[in-house]
């Protein structure tokens, strides 16, 4: 596979179209929730992520709305699939693994048991200009989680 095909793996193109977790969903009354709006001023991509917590503090629902390139939209879709139902700690652990992979410039061999579809983004990490596209929704989810009350 050449670099471009690694960047745009079929699973990424599929997620970019599917946009799982979009559009935004209202949080159930009384549930703790938080949201964050992130913007990439370089290209104008933007995303709003809302995280709703269950009574046990787990991430019950992650929903989002945004516009941007296929990498940023696919990443948000993968995130919604991956993080739904996780405990706060498990989500932050996965975020750290994802972030480490995105900073690896393609050198990390991703653990597909942990990252599932998100492992496909290792190809994106070879393109420094696109790492921010992939991180946008994850950064928004982290901020939304920290803001949840």
């Amino acid at each position: 596979m050449n670099d471009l095909d690694q960047l745009y793996q079929q699973v990424i193109l599929d997620h970019a179209k599917a946009r799982n977790g979009s559009p935004l969903q209202e949080a159930a009354p009384g549930h703790r929730h938080g949201e964050s709006h992130q913007h990439n001023p370089i290209c104008g991509d933007q995303i709003k992520v809302r995280v709703e917590l269950g009574e046990n503090g787990n991430l019950d629902t992650i929903s989002w709305e945004g516009e941007g390139c296929s990498i940023s939209m696919a990443s948000a879709s993968v995130l919604a699939d991956l993080a739904t139902g996780l405990s706060r700690e498990d989500f932050l652990d996965k975020l750290n693994v994802f972030r480490e992979m995105m900073r690896s410039r393609g050198t990390m061999v991703p653990d597909e048991d942990i990252l599932e579809d998100a492992a496909a983004f290792v190809g994106v990490s070879k393109f420094p200009a696109r790492v921010k596209c992939a991180m946008l929704s994850w950064v928004a989810a982290e901020a939304a989680l920290l803001a949840a009350q």
């Binding site: 050449n2 670099d3 471009l4 960047l7 745009y8 193109l13 370089i42 290209c43 104008g44 991509d45 516009e67 941007g68 390139c69 296929s70 990498i71 393109f127 696109r130 596209c133």
Partner: protein
């Protein structure tokens, strides 16, 4: 006869493909493959590539003449000063100005900020009675256009905030064409300054400068032209255009980064209070106050960018020898190929008015594929274009998009470059499964 063909634009023959190939050979970087492909550089609107003579001039300066200018009496200082001031003569002549009407700046952005901060200082009473024509306050209006690059918008917004003046703008229609018919209403007795671009950095369309200048003259308003996209690509004569000020950048016209210029009519520059102050711009300094040199030194505080200035003058000479009229004709031809070629591709939408005169700059969108993805795909085939809002968010909003893909040419681009782009753009949708 050959000499006449260089100096008299009416006698200039159009550039031929053979000549363009020869020009291209002067640009080392264009010989280096990108992603295993021959490079097709279509991002000259962002920055141009440099011919060898430009950076060799910089190297030669450092090897033979490096010294601080306008100070010191040793041989190198004299040589460096000669190089610095000869460059001013060359570049000022290139835009039709006198040498004392050209102020060196880091770039066009700094040139425009120099104006707005000088006017701020005038608004606070600095520069005395002579500078009052540059003083802004409540009730005064500054007119810009919706086409502007952020560099010719935000400095004026900030000047308005600082002084209480009102910022207004000439809108564009849905195609991005300036609505000249509104000029007569928008320019009124309160209008103190009109700032507008000569060529849109996004659409490549050429502004009818005359209409702005006439409207401004009618009410005695100052005129500021953004020449960033015109000076590199068209013959520009500031006296003929009759604007009061013009900003331009060096790196877009084959020159080095870090150097640009501000043209101003001599009587205006000499009446303006300085922006940056310090060494090399004074006549007499007490502990309490200082007196300033006339322009251009008044606006050139501190150690200057001598190597860059020398490189820029070398670039201007290179352009002059090729012939600006011929370059403009060639790029009009390439722009036509781009606009027509992209317009006929299925699933591609081209922005900008159809019937406009334009340089070789064309923005477009591949329906269903984000510009970032388009740019990435083109890059994998060795084609460099710009994606994003091109520092013109308001214009993109007016066009109803957040980002576009922009192809922009220069004198080293061939017809083959345009064909390679069109072929690649034609296969984008298939790759992304749209």
């Amino acid at each position: 006869m050959q000499l006449a063909s260089i100096t008299d634009p009416t006698l200039q023959k159009p550039l031929t493909s053979v000549e363009v190939a020869r020009i291209k050979a002067d640009f080392e970087i264009l010989e280096h493959p990108v992603a295993g492909n021959e490079l097709v550089y279509l991002d000259s609107g962002a920055t141009s590539q440099k011919p060898r003579c430009v950076y060799e001039a910089e190297q030669h300066y450092y090897e033979t003449a490096n010294a601080a200018v306008h100070r010191g009496a040793h041989t190198l200082a004299v040589e460096a000063t000669d190089i610095f001031e000869n460059a001013r003569a060359t570049v000022s002549a290139f835009i039709g100005a006198a040498p004392n009407e050209l102020v060196w700046t880091s770039n066009a952005t700094e040139a425009l900020n120099l104006l707005t901060y000088s006017f701020s200082n005038a608004s606070m009473g600095r520069g005395g009675e002579a500078a009052q024509r540059f003083a802004f306050g409540p009730g005064d209006e500054i007119l810009v256009t919706e086409l502007e690059h952020h560099a010719n918008l935000i400095p004026w917004q900030e000047l308005a905030f600082r002084t209480g003046a009102t910022l207004r703008y000439v809108p564009v229609d849905q195609d991005g064409a300036l609505r000249y018919e509104l000029l007569d209403d928008l320019v009124n007795e309160r209008t103190k300054l009109v700032a507008f671009t000569h060529v849109s950095n996004v659409l490549g369309t050429i502004t009818e400068v005359q209409r702005f200048v006439q409207a401004a003259r009618r009410v005695g308003a100052l005129t500021v032209l953004d020449g960033c996209q015109s000076v590199p690509h068209l013959p520009v004569d500031v006296k003929q255009l009759d604007v009061d000020f013009m900003a331009f950048s060096g790196h877009k016209m084959l020159g080095p980064t870090g150097i640009g210029g501000l043209y101003g009519k001599a009587e205006l520059l000499d009446a303006m209070p300085p922006f940056l102050t310090g060494g090399s711009m004074i006549t007499h300094v007490d502990m309490e106050r200082a007196e300033y040199l006339p322009a251009p030194q008044r606006f050139e505080a501190g150690t200057q960018r001598i190597a860059q200035v020398h490189g820029l003058a070398t670039a201007a000479s290179y352009l002059e020898e090729t012939g600006m009229q011929r370059i403009a004709q060639w790029e009009e031809h390439l722009g036509h190929l781009l606009y027509q070629g992209l317009s006929t591709l299925e699933g591609v939408r081209v922005f900008g008015p159809k019937d406009a005169t334009r340089i070789g700059t064309v923005p477009f969108e591949v329906i269903g594929v984000h510009p970032h993805d388009v740019g990435q795909y083109l890059d994998s085939r060795g084609i460099a274009v710009r994606v994003g809002h091109h520092c013109a968010q308001p214009l993109h909003r007016a066009l109803g998009v957040t980002a576009t893909t922009r192809a922009s040419t220069y004198l080293y681009n061939t017809e083959e470059d345009i064909s390679r782009l069109l072929e690649a753009v034609g296969s984008v949708r298939e790759y992304f499964g749209v």
